[in-house]
Symmetry: C2
DNA sequence: ACAATAGGGGATAAATTTATCCCTATCTGA
DNA sequence: TCAGATAGGGATAAATTTATCCCCTATTGT
């Protein structure tokens, strides 16, 4: 496992929430788990751009951060279900706030983001 | 300048807001600019862990994304002021939501984050 | 027998982001 | 005259995160 060389700042609330939400797919994972997609394979179908490997890693991190639980059913083929913890559930309105801002400004955001991408490639 | 090889997803609001807020120091920069710290040197004093270079880069990105403006005063030594645009100002409540969640759960977050960091280094 | 399904995880490469280092310019004050 | 403040930015290294590839377990269906 990769071991950090530079310790993160944990000074204020923004640092702290950043530490648990940073990760390309984490927010989406929380969202879909909240919607009831509990199994790894379901989540992967919902997020086809991510590889299984990365999803596992990010799910494990969120489990360590007590945002989700991982229940293993002792059956074959294996079955595992992820659920939000009570703590994790409190993040849902926060994520909704982010998503709403993005949705509300969708057109403008798409425009400025694409403009910058184009200018980079010149 | 670095040119992306993998294009970002821009499907939903969460993708879009992620695209403009990702960056180690961006949220803090927006916050401090909103508090009235307009000059690069002030911002740097507020965020001493970041180098001048990175702050410049992230400020430039946010300018391209129309979250902030950059006003140059033709004086010597140079003077430049950053301000939030009207668009940028609409992000402040969103950032406040993030910070509040982090503050409210400060103790627990610090605990789980540090626990994970320790287990990584074993 | 073989593919598909379900979930895990190691090893390594590639992509991306941050950090370091160094150089530019001009004025002010010691 | 030299240090310090102010702002910008190139080149490169280091850190970090994601992606790729490959292998393992055991059952069910073809």
């Amino acid at each position: 496992m990769y071991e950090r060389k530079i310790l993160p700042n944990l000074n204020c609330g923004l640092d702290l929430i950043g530490e648990v939400l940073y990760g390309k797919w984490k927010i989406r994972l929380l969202w879909f788990i909240n919607e009831g997609h509990k199994r790894q394979s379901e989540l992967q179908r919902k997020i086809p751009d991510a590889t299984r490997r990365v999803l596992n890693i990010q799910l494990k991190e969120m489990e360590d951060h007590e945002l989700i639980t991982r229940k293993i059913y002792p059956v074959v083929p294996p079955k595992v279900e992820y659920d939000l913890t009570e703590f994790g559930k409190t993040l849902i309105p926060v994520i909704a706030t982010l998503g709403n801002w993005g949705d509300k400004n969708e057109e403008r955001l798409r425009t400025v983001i694409l403009k910058r991408l184009k200018s980079e490639s010149e």
